[in-house]
C-alpha cells in the first residue's frame, strides 16, 4: 500500500524554560496499526502526545494527517481533526450514566430536552461496536476502573476519530481486564483507526503493537517492527546512554541502621514494602511512574494512612499518624509536588523556613522574632537562597530557590531521616548542583537519606543502594555500581538476564 500514513510527524522539537523536551523527533503511524511508544520517564513521550493533542505547540516540525499538513492550534482543533486522547486520569463524570458520559458534548436532544431513547440507543451502538458489555444506564461512579476506562475509550470512539492515543491504559488493570482492553483495541484497528499505545509494560507492547518507537532524552532512537525485537533489546534502546559524572558522589562512612520499614502496605498502592536506611547512607528509591514510590514516602511520613506494616527508628517501633508525629520522631519529607505540599505562597521566605519548627523558636506560644529571624537567615544563607533577603513572599522566588526554601525548612528541623521526592525536578541546572551539594553535605553529617528520582542517572550516581519498586512491590535491591539496565529490568518487571 502506498497510501499516506494516518499520522506523520517530522522534525518535531520543543523546549520549555530550562529544558529541551524534544529534539527532531519523527513518528509515522498507519491507519489500522497499533503503534507503541516506549521510553524512560522524561524521554518525551508525554510532550510528543501533548503536541499531537494540541495542548502544546511545537517549536519546529510538521504534522501531516492523511498526507495533509495540519496545524493543531488547540485541543478542540485536534479533536475536530480526528485525534482522540485517552489519558491516564480519566475524564468522566461519576454522577452521570454510561450513556450520558459517552455522548457528553454531543447529547441528542429535541428542543433542548435530552432525547433519552436516542441517547441510550446511540451509546449502545458504540459499545456494541467495541464489543463492550457495559450497561448504558449504570452510573459511571459505580463501575470498576477497567469498565470506566472502556467508557472513556467508547467516548473517544463515539467522536469517530482517525487516531486514538492510549496513555498507559493498563497501569491499573488486571491481566484479564488487559485482555478485554486488547480486544477493544483490535476492534478499533479493524475499523481503520490508528492506535498509538504508550506503555511501560514491554510484554504488552510486544503483544498488541505492530511497531514500536523508542524515545530517549527527547530524541528518536528507532522505530522497529515488534516482530524482530525482544523486551531486553527495547530496554537497551531506552537506556543506551553513557553515565557521565554530572552528579559527583561524596564518599562518607556509613553507620548503623536508622530507619527500617517492614511490611508497609496501602490497599491499591503498594504492599509489603521493606526498606532500611543507615546513617550517612543515601538509599535510592527507583521505579516507573505509578510504581508507588511517592505513595510509600507519603505513608512513612504520615501524610497518607497505611493499612499495614511498621516503621522503626533506631530499632524502636514508632507510631506515625500525622506528619507532626514524623517530624517529632526526626523524619522530614521534601515533597514531590512543591506547589501543593511544599511552599505556603502567601507567607514570607522566613515564615516558610520556620514553619515546621516554630515551637523551637518560641516561648509559651510566642514567637521569639529575633531567634526566628536569625535561624531562618542562617538556613537561607547555607542553602544559597537567592536573593538573600528573606522578608519577601516565597512565591516571588524562582522554582529552584523555592525548592531550596523547602530544603531549608527541613534542615531547620535537623532530621535524622530525610526523604527526598524528586528533589531536583523542574529546577534549573545551577540550583540542581547546589541541591546535590546539600544532599552530600547532609549525608556526611550522618543523616539517613531516601531519595526518589525519575531521573535514573541521578539515582545511580547518588545512591549507595537502590531499592526498585514495581507495581507497588519491591522488585529488586541493587548495590552501588548497578547499571541502568539492571534498574530498568527490575522496574519493568522483566527478570534480569
Amino acid at each position: 500500500m502506498t497510501t499516506a500514513p494516518a499520522l506523520h510527524m517530522s522534525g518535531i522539537s520543543k523546549s520549555f524554560p530550562g529544558i529541551r523536551a524534544l529534539t527532531d523527533v519523527g513518528l509515522r503511524v498507519d491507519a489500522g496499526e497499533v503503534h507503541a511508544i516506549v521510553g524512560e520517564n522524561g524521554a518525551g513521550k508525554s510532550t510528543l502526545m501533548k503536541i499531537l493533542a494540541g495542548v502544546h505547540q511545537p517549536d519546529a516540525g510538521e504534522i501531516e494527517l492523511n498526507g495533509h499538513p495540519a496545524k493543531l492550534a488547540d485541543p478542540i482543533e485536534a479533536r475536530r481533526r480526528g485525534i482522540g486522547m485517552v489519558y491516564q486520569e480519566l475524564n468522566l463524570v461519576p454522577d452521570l450514566t454510561v450513556a450520558e458520559n459517552i455522548l457528553l458534548g454531543s447529547t441528542p436532544s429535541r428542543w433542548g430536552i435530552v432525547d433519552r431513547r436516542a441517547l441510550r440507543s446511540r451509546a449502545r451502538a458504540v459499545l456494541d461496536e467495541l464489543d463492550a458489555r457495559i450497561n448504558t444506564d449504570d452510573l459511571v461512579g459505580s463501575l470498576t476502573v477497567s469498565q470506566q476506562q472502556i467508557v472513556e475509550i467508547a467516548k473517544v470512539y463515539a467522536s469517530s476519530p482517525a487516531i486514538v492515543v492510549l496513555d498507559e491504559p493498563t497501569s491499573s488493570l488486571s491481566e484479564h481486564e488487559t485482555q478485554s482492553l486488547f480486544r477493544i483495541i483490535r476492534r478499533m484497528t479493524t475499523a481503520g483507526i490508528a492506535v498509538i499505545y504508550i506503555s511501560h509494560r514491554l510484554r504488552e507492547v510486544l503483544d498488541i503493537a505492530q511497531r514500536v518507537t523508542v524515545l530517549r532524552d527527547g530524541r528518536l532512537v528507532e522505530t522497529r517492527s515488534t516482530d524482530g525485537i525482544s523486551a531486553g533489546e527495547m530496554i537497551r534502546l531506552m537506556v543506551g546512554r553513557d553515565l557521565t559524572d554530572v552528579f559527583p558522589k561524596r564518599e562518607v562512612p556509613i553507620g548503623d541502621v536508622v530507619l527500617s520499614v517492614t511490611g508497609l502496605s496501602r490497599t491499591g498502592e503498594f504492599s509489603d514494602v521493606e526498606l532500611t536506611v543507615r546513617a550517612g547512607e543515601i538509599l535510592g528509591l527507583a521505579g516507573l511512574v505509578g510504581a508507588g514510590r511517592t505513595e510509600v514516602a507519603r505513608a512513612i511520613f504520615g501524610l497518607d494512612k497505611r493499612d499495614g506494616g511498621s516503621v522503626s527508628l533506631d530499632g524502636t517501633e514508632i507510631a506515625i499518624r500525622t506528619p507532626r508525629d514524623a517530624v517529632r520522631a526526626g523524619i522530614a519529607y521534601v515533597p514531590e509536588d512543591r506547589k501543593r505540599d511544599g511552599i505556603v505562597p502567601q507567607l514570607s521566605i522566613k515564615d516558610n523556613i520556620s514553619l515546621a519548627v516554630l515551637d523551637r523558636v518560641s516561648l509559651s506560644g510566642w514567637v521569639k522574632r529575633g531567634a526566628e529571624q536569625s535561624m531562618a537567615q542562617t538556613k537561607a544563607t547555607e542553602l544559597t537562597v537567592s536573593p538573600p533577603d528573606i522578608r519577601p513572599r516565597v512565591d516571588t522566588l524562582s522554582g529552584g530557590n523555592q525548592q531550596k526554601v523547602v530544603f531549608a525548612k527541613w534542615l531547620a528541623a535537623a532530621p535524622r531521616v530525610l526523604i527526598l521526592d524528586e528533589p531536583t525536578r523542574g529546577v534549573d541546572v545551577g540550583a540542581k548542583a547546589d541541591i546535590h551539594t546539600i544532599i552530600g553535605e547532609l549525608a556526611a553529617q550522618g543523616t539517613a537519606i531516601i531519595m526518589i528520582s525519575s531521573e535514573l542517572p541521578e539515582v545511580l550516581a547518588v545512591s549507595d543502594r537502590i531499592v526498585v519498586l514495581h507495581e507497588g512491590r519491591v522488585s529488586a535491591e541493587l548495590p552501588r555500581g548497578s547499571s541502568e539496565h539492571d534498574v530498568m529490568h527490575a522496574a519493568t518487571g522483566e527478570v534480569s538476564a
Binding site: T322, P335, G342, V344, L355, S362, G365, W366, D395, G430
Partner: protein, 328 residues
C-alpha cells in the same frame, strides 16, 4: 562547602500601585470619610458624636476580631454569630438574679464557647462546610435559647453593671470602648506574634503544604470558630448588660456587619492574608460612613445598599490584587 554563583532569581513584579493601594487604601479612605463627614455635617466632628461611633462599634468590633481569624484560616464565615450573641445576652440577664452578674456573665461566655467548640470540631475535624455548619448550629442554638427564655424578653436588674460599662474613664472614654480596644489589641497580638497566629495564616494560604510541615491544621481551623463563638458570647454579655434587656433576636445582623467589616478591611475570604488592625479599620470606615448617612437623615434602606456595594467593591479589589500578585 563550595558556593557556586547563585542563579539569577525571578522576582514577580507586583506593581507599585497595587502594593501601595493594598496598604494605604483603607487608611486613606478613613481620612477621606472624616473630611467628608466634617464638610457635610457640623455635628460630625464632635467628641460626643465620635464617642457614639466608638460605642456603637464596640459590641460588633469584638466579634470582628474572631471573624478575622475565621477568614484568615479560610474558614469562610461564621453564620452562628447571632445565636451566640443571643446566648450571651440571655444567659447573663436570665441568671444574674440567681447567681450574680459576674458568674452569669461567665456562664454566658462559656456556653457560647461550647457552641463555638462544636462548630470548630465539625468544621476543623469532621471537615464539614463552614457556611452550612454554622447556619445549622446557629439555628439549633437559637432554638435552645428561645426555649430557655420561653420566647419572651428577659430584663436585667443590675443597674450598677450597666452604669459601669457605659461609665467613662477620665470623663471621656466609655469602659465598653476600652474593653473593645483591649480585645482588638489582644487579637492583633495573637494573630501577628504567636505560633497559633502564624499557623492560621499558613493554613489559610496552603493547607496541604502546612499539614505536610507538621502543623496541626485541624486544630488551627477549629480554633478560629472556638474564638469567634467565645467572643460573640462575650459581646452578647456586654450587649445584655448595656441594654438591661435581651430577646432571642438580639444578635440578628451582627454576622453580616462583622463580615462587612472584615471584607472591607481587606482580609481575604480566600484565606492567608489580612490583619486584625485592618479589619478594625474596615469596621471604623463602615461605621463612620453609616454615621454620616444617619446624620444626613438617609433612610435605612439606602444604607443597606451602600454597605452591600462596599462588600462587592472590597471583594473585587481583593480578587484583582490576587491576580496582579500572580497568585492562582
Amino acid at each position: 562547602m563550595t558556593t557556586p554563583v547563585p542563579p539569577p532569581s525571578r522576582t514577580v513584579n507586583r506593581g507599585l500601585f497595587s502594593h501601595i493601594g493594598a496598604r494605604l487604601g483603607l487608611p486613606a479612605g478613613i481620612v477621606a470619610t472624616l473630611i467628608a463627614g466634617t464638610l457635610v455635617s457640623d455635628r460630625f466632628l464632635t467628641v460626643q458624636n465620635l464617642t457614639n461611633v466608638l460605642i456603637n462599634m464596640s459590641i460588633i468590633g469584638i466579634i470582628v476580631v474572631g471573624m478575622t481569624f475565621v477568614f484568615v484560616t479560610r474558614g469562610l464565615a461564621d453564620l452562628s454569630v447571632p445565636a451566640t450573641v443571643a446566648v450571651g445576652g440571655l444567659l447573663v440577664l436570665g441568671l444574674e438574679s440567681s447567681i450574680g452578674t459576674l458568674p452569669a456573665a461567665i456562664v454566658g461566655v462559656l456556653t457560647a464557647a461550647i457552641a463555638g467548640a462544636v462548630n470548630g470540631w465539625l468544621i476543623g475535624y469532621a471537615g464539614l462546610n463552614p457556611v452550612i455548619t454554622t447556619l445549622a448550629s446557629g439555628t439549633i442554638v437559637l432554638g435552645i435559647a428561645q426555649v430557655f427564655v420561653g420566647g419572651v424578653i428577659v430584663y436585667g436588674d443590675n443597674r450598677e453593671a450597666q452604669a459601669f460599662l457605659t461609665g467613662r474613664v477620665f470623663g471621656v472614654v466609655p469602659v465598653i470602648v476600652l474593653i473593645f480596644l483591649a480585645v482588638v489589641i489582644a487579637g492583633h497580638l495573637l494573630l501577628s506574634r504567636t505560633v497559633l497566629g502564624r499557623w492560621s495564616y499558613a493554613v489559610g494560604s496552603n493547607p496541604s503544604a502546612t499539614g505536610a510541615s507538621a502543623v496541626p491544621v485541624k486544630r488551627v481551623r477549629a480554633f478560629a470558630f472556638l474564638l469567634t463563638g467565645t467572643l460573640a458570647g462575650f459581646s452578647g454579655v456586654l450587649l445584655g448588660i448595656t441594654l438591661q434587656t435581651a430577646r432571642p433576636g438580639i444578635g440578628t445582623g451582627y454576622e453580616f456587619d462583622a463580615i462587612t467589616a472584615v471584607v472591607v478591611g481587606g482580609v481575604s475570604l480566600l484565606g492567608g492574608s489580612g490583619t486584625v488592625l485592618y479589619a478594625f479599620g474596615g469596621l471604623l470606615f463602615v461605621q463612620l460612613l453609616t454615621n454620616i448617612m444617619v446624620l444626613l437623615g438617609v433612610p435605612t434602606e439606602p444604607q443597606g445598599l451602600v454597605k452591600g456595594a462596599l462588600i462587592v467593591t472590597a471583594v473585587a479589589i481583593d480578587v484583582a490584587l490576587r491576580r496582579r500578585g500572580g497568585r492562582s
